[in-house]
Symmetry: C2
Subunit: 463 residues, 2 copies
């Protein structure tokens, strides 16, 4: 080999080594900043304990908008603003009641109305119960369910390693169960809570009547897993037992709300936008500390870390706190609509909406070229125990985004405990560990940094 | 290449592929068995909620011996037996009290005596306080600490990614602080709890007076992290404030206790022993559900899984529930002593003593050859999110084992929350997640299976 070529090669490999060393150093600083000097945990404390649950359209959701906007304004960003969005407003009303009427015995069981459900009549609903384990089984029963309450009782599969796979294998019962049961004349549905644990918390969540006429809407509620086990057992002994439940929830007119946005202008490519976000709304039963208070404060922490380190991104970094992920996704849709109107070019979007647990990696929506590029950074993440880089769903709020050159990523925390809390009364601040939350924020900031430095490959192979 | 050589190579690679597929299938069955059909969570429920804390020499430690022996006897093992071991017995006595006396104001703070500490006098101990951050700083102060209470207040380092590194960087204050302070005439020591969180739980743990004369033993206690922050702040305003504490703990005579052992005889190499274990004793403040109830029931679950799957190990599998890890390590030493006496040949030992959290990998004490052999199984573990195979401390109970051909491993669960509970009042059953515990047991069973199938490489390069 000629000496000159060798020199060039040595020089080039020097550059690669230097970049790697620089990236290693920056990630170290990012993690240190997050673990020793972050605001995310105290932000979450305020969101959870001072503001509380933040269902779209509620007064507390609006407080959360004002609070996070004010906090972003303290960070010295280039721009902080609100984006108007009309959101559905559903209210639970009085606490629900339910019991199993087994001959002369009444046994109270914990239920909660599913989001978007209609109320029962004022006196509640009483009927015999048919237990099913799938919508298919319901359809096979057909008109036999007429006049009955349908009880969906397919449990989340314990043998799934990733808890989200167990969830997605079950959630059709909650989301579409009432709509399907209504078609065959059921009077209401009771759905086993989406929870891998046996406990007494009913878990709410979105349901949809789809396009059936309003007159056919039937009330639907979730029952705790212990309640579901009990009901199933009692039904085996007495298939003629009756179930009573009463709920007074109501769908109101849509109301004005906001996405909250903070921005650091890119120093080299201000026209290229990188989003990091979570959703500001939560269900109404608890603080929503994991879902998705954690994602909100982690996203805010990403720009806080950049500011603390004096890092000036090449591309525009935008933290977006989306409204209404839980029951409509209007915030995400509005964000995309305005991005289209303003002809914005998004190159990357990262969402945190899987809880504030120990981060394990990322779930990526990407073509192969960019996926492999990100995989190439695996060694950089190894000291931080970040190891799982997989293709998969990135996030609901960034779902609508359609810029031509766009990689999407979802933070992938440890999933085992997520459904212990998801949409239930116990999704509270004390269920979040400060360090796990901060490690998640640092992991997000690290990927944002690496994408900002190295860019996204354009017009390559499409996935 | 000659056709015959090619055939042989294809045949051999077929064998490798077949083995891999068989291993994949077995790991799948192991994880499924643990997640759907395990006993470990209900065993832990009993150990924690029916028996409770299990400090060596206590009546409940003996109940735990009898309970786990009886449970092992239900599993159809080839042999279940006890191993006698004399253990230290230390009792806490009445609940400790402590306050900061700042001029006329008394502020109560939560403390607990450190294990092995002597009592204060009946009326307690009152003295001025000197805050230090290391034993080195203490030595530099020398005789200035005479007649004072030394307050060790070096926090665990937040920036450490692995919480155990933060612990090992601090624990000398707890273990040796009193001994060192006594040499310069201190009257007592107060040690910041080994806890990364700010909260109100004092964390106990072992301390040792080493070889100083008994007459120089001084009382030593842990203070909660919030208490330590407060004391430090108050000291800045008033270096002359006094601290009061009272404890009535006592070291008793050693008593007879037991290691609990269950065994499946090896079908091919019964003379080769593979140990899997945790420690049966716990500190006295709580159930010790993470430390080390989790390790105990996971170890028992390993043989339960093998039995459920009808797996007949080639080597002898021995589950060992060690007594007295926390304050003496007598169980581990006795086990090794008898192994020597009986000329036993241990090829592998696996310990779980880092909490019942989501498993991440293994910490291995091994020569390079066997380390690399285990690393070669990384892909098999990937579907179960087991990714971290590092050289490092395997476990205290298996520490004394010295068989010539021996690889040691420690289960490495996620470490972030471990020190929230470690040796404190809140190390209780509700802090353990069923799935995380079961995933840990499956991870242990998987490594035991792979070592059993593939053996340990003998007489290769020594680390």
């Amino acid at each position: 080999m000629k000496k000159s070529i060798l020199s060039v090669m040595l020089f080039l490999s020097g550059i690669v080594l230097f970049a790697q060393t620089k990236d290693e150093q920056t990630l170290k600083e990012i993690y240190k900043s997050s673990l020793t000097n972050s605001k995310c945990y105290s932000w979450l404390d305020y969101l959870s304990n001072k503001i509380g649950s933040r269902l779209s359209g509620s007064a507390s959701a609006e407080k959360a908008v004002q609070y996070t906007k004010a906090q972003l304004e303290t960070l010295g960003l280039d721009r902080v603003y609100l984006q108007e969005v009309m959101v559905p407003k559903w209210v639970r009303g009085e606490k629900e009641t339910a019991y199993i009427q087994d001959n002369k015995t009444k046994i109270n069981v914990p239920i909660c109305a599913l989001g978007g459900s209609v109320a029962t009549s004022k006196n509640g609903l009483t009927a015999e119960v048919i237990e099913v384990h799938s919508i298919k089984e319901l359809e096979a029963l057909g008109n036999k369910i007429k006049g009955k309450i349908v009880f969906f009782n397919r449990p989340m599969e314990d043998e799934q390693i990733e808890a989200f796979n167990a969830y997605s294998g079950c959630v059709d019962q909650r989301y579409a169960g009432a709509k399907e049961a209504s078609k065959f004349g059921a009077l209401g549905t009771i759905v086993r809570s989406m929870n891998l644990r046996l406990d007494d918390f009913p878990h709410t969540g979105a349901q949809s009547y789809g396009d059936i006429p309003k007159s056919q809407y039937i009330p639907t509620a979730a029952i705790s897993t212990n309640g579901a086990e009990l009901l199933s057992k009692k039904l085996k002994n007495n298939p003629k037992l009756k179930f009573y439940f009463k709920q007074s929830c109501k769908q109101m007119d849509d109301v004005l709300s906001y996405n909250v946005i903070g921005e650091i202008k890119g120093s080299e490519h201000p026209e290229n936008i990188m989003v990091v976000g979570g959703h500001l709304d939560s269900w109404d039963l608890a603080d929503g500390s994991h879902d998705d208070g954690a994602g909100v404060v982690q996203s805010m922490e990403v720009v806080n870390i950049f500011k603390n380190l004096g890092y000036k991104p090449k591309n525009t970094i935008r933290v977006v706190l989306f409204m209404n992920e839980e029951n409509g996704g209007k915030g995400g849709k509005k964000y995309e609509e305005l991005a289209q109107t303003n002809k914005e070019n998004h190159i990357f979007a990262l969402e945190s909406d899987s809880g504030g647990f120990s981060p394990r990696g990322f779930s990526l929506e990407s073509d192969d070229v960019n996926f492999n590029k990100i995989l190439g950074w695996k060694d950089l993440f190894e000291p931080y125990l970040i190891h799982s880089f997989v293709k998969g769903h990135a996030g609901s709020d960034i779902g609508p985004l359609t810029s031509k050159t766009l990689v999407k990523a979802g933070l992938k925390p440890d999933s085992q405990r997520y459904f212990d809390y998801h949409h239930a009364l116990n999704d509270t601040f004390d269920a979040v560990n400060k360090r796990e939350l901060e490690l998640g924020a640092a992991t997000m900031a690290s990927l944002m940094y690496l994408i900002d430095q190295n860019g996204i490959e354009v017009n390559k192979e499409v996935q």
